[in-house]
Amino acid sequence: MMEQAPILIVVVPLMCALMTPLIGWIRKELCYPWVILTLAVSAGCAFITLNTVIHNGVIHYYLGNWPPPWGIEYVIDHLNAMMVVLVSATAFLVAVYSKKSIEQELPDKVVYFYTVFLLQVTGFLGIVITGDVFNLYVFLEIASLAGYALIAIGEEGAPLASFRYIVLGTVGACFYLLAVGYLYIVTGSLNMADLAKILPDLYASKVVLVAFAFFMVGIALKMALFPLHVWLPDAYTKAPTTASALIAPLMTKVAIYVMLRIMFTVFQPYFSIEFMPITKILLWAGIIAIFGGAIMALAQTDFKRMLCYIIVAEVGYMVGGVGVANAVAIKGTVLHILNDVVMTLGLFTVAGIITYKMRHHNLDDFKGMFKKMPLTMAAFVTVALSIIGVPPTCGFFSKWYLLQGAVLAGQWMFVVALLFSSLINIVLFFRIFEIGYEFHTTHGTHDHGHEEMMAVEEAPLSMLMPTLIVAAIIIMIGLYNQPIISNLIQYAVPKI
């Protein structure tokens, strides 16, 4: 049973997704516990796998017992194991969180929402667990297609946002597929480990260089790297609350994971770093993304939209960290993948609670929230401090490694960009705190009297608990960052 855990991580959500309409047909209310149960099993398997990887090293799982270059192989090393746990745990928390918000936003689509929700999770899990480049493409498309559908059922204007995402996302996926084709022409293999063995002799070949370029552009589209980010803000702002809480933390980070895999597993690190000038391009793309994202975030009055531009800036952190291309910065990048999933999840769960209470997600809706929902806002402050990068929270540590790596490499522009974005984040979040505390009570005593009357009115428990857990995780990761790095992340960093 234990050795089958890797495949169960993916198969359980896939099978259960297909059974969800049946369950919903029997009774609509059963869907919610069903999804939670499914994702709990999947997350449990993910934790078992992580434990095995930490104690026994890399797992190779042959699907149908076909040995690798012919069969599909699942390879779980330290990087995958971390990603699998992240994805399944995030999905589980979002599933717990989803109940009330779906009842409010999509009362007649509950069954189909959960079906597509599970397919989306399957896609993400498949991407991070597979060791086969074509299999990765299929899972990438499963995740993307489910994402298009989930986004399209959102609020006013969501279908058009989703349509634009489809067009750009398909171009990205097609470029990826084309790159797989080029590699297949010259190597005759689709297995990542096999490719890594065959490719070094072919690095001078133009076909391989073109394949590498197509990989990078395709994945950059999927991860919303700054000039290619245009689909992201609209899509994530207008998606239903639960969908954005699932997709926003995971899609971009999973794409960054794919980039790391292609750069450092399929190709050798020395190819990606020395042979091609790609790291220089990535570094500058990251710097521009950080500046662009931060400045655009300042201009927003919609809370969710502001978060979307923060994501764009955070993608810049990670891409820039890869671009710095030394071991410390890449350690920072991998740690930041972990942190950013948790932080973005925290932000979007808070945004969901605000949407649930106020029916909107503008910055003004935070008025008086500290009085009304003290626990939610406590969680929000923790997450915000982490995004800013205040020491006990996890955001500080990944930023510290990124800064350290940038200083070691002498990339001062990246240092400036990181500090600039931290400053902008302080402005962004303290502006919201100010609205939340209502420091400007311009209406005088009348309004003040009204405020006294306002009772504590917390979010429903099913929404509050995941948010508080996320806030707790943020502090835990911050406190235990050393064991996480020494047990997990230092093995995930390629030897440069």
Partner: protein, 135 residues
């Protein structure tokens, strides 16, 4: 010129891909964008299929099988013949493309469903008019 003719299949796929890409970028009608997207994906499928081709009379393994049964009349010899790699077209790209076609159809389905949603709401498929109606 010889360079173009000897690899004409790749040139066709490049031209198709660019036609699709142009439609995705330049057309204002959402359905035309979807058609462009489909041409783009089809070009990639043609590319994959043409990479499987081998010069020198290679065919499908099944055809080869029947032919050699006739010649040798022995099951054992048939198996040997079929394994001869140079004699059959690489089947793997075709199999990959079956999966890619499924993905393509699914994308088309989702895209069309979303276009229907848009049309029901705004009663037009022109992107500019939809954006005007949203404001």
């Amino acid at each position: 010129m010889d360079f173009i003719i000897s690899k004409y299949n790749f040139w066709i796929y490049i031209v198709l891909m660019m036609i699709g890409f142009y439609a995705m970028i330049a057309k204002k009608n959402l359905v035309k964008k979807i058609i462009g997207m489909n041409i783009f994906q089809t070009a990639i499928i043609l590319f994959f299929v043409s990479t499987a081709f081998k010069k020198g009379g290679a065919t499908l393994p099944i055809l080869l099988d029947i032919h050699s049964t006739h010649g040798h009349g022995q099951g054992h010899a048939v198996a040997q013949q079929a394994i001869e790699v140079a004699n059959y077209i690489n089947p793997l790209p075709h199999v990959l493309m079956l999966t890619a076609i499924v993905v393509m159809v699914a994308t088309l389905g989702v895209a069309l469903a979303i276009v229907i949603m848009i049309y029901r709401k705004y009663h037009t498929l022109n992107e500019d008019e939809i954006i005007k109606a949203m404001k």
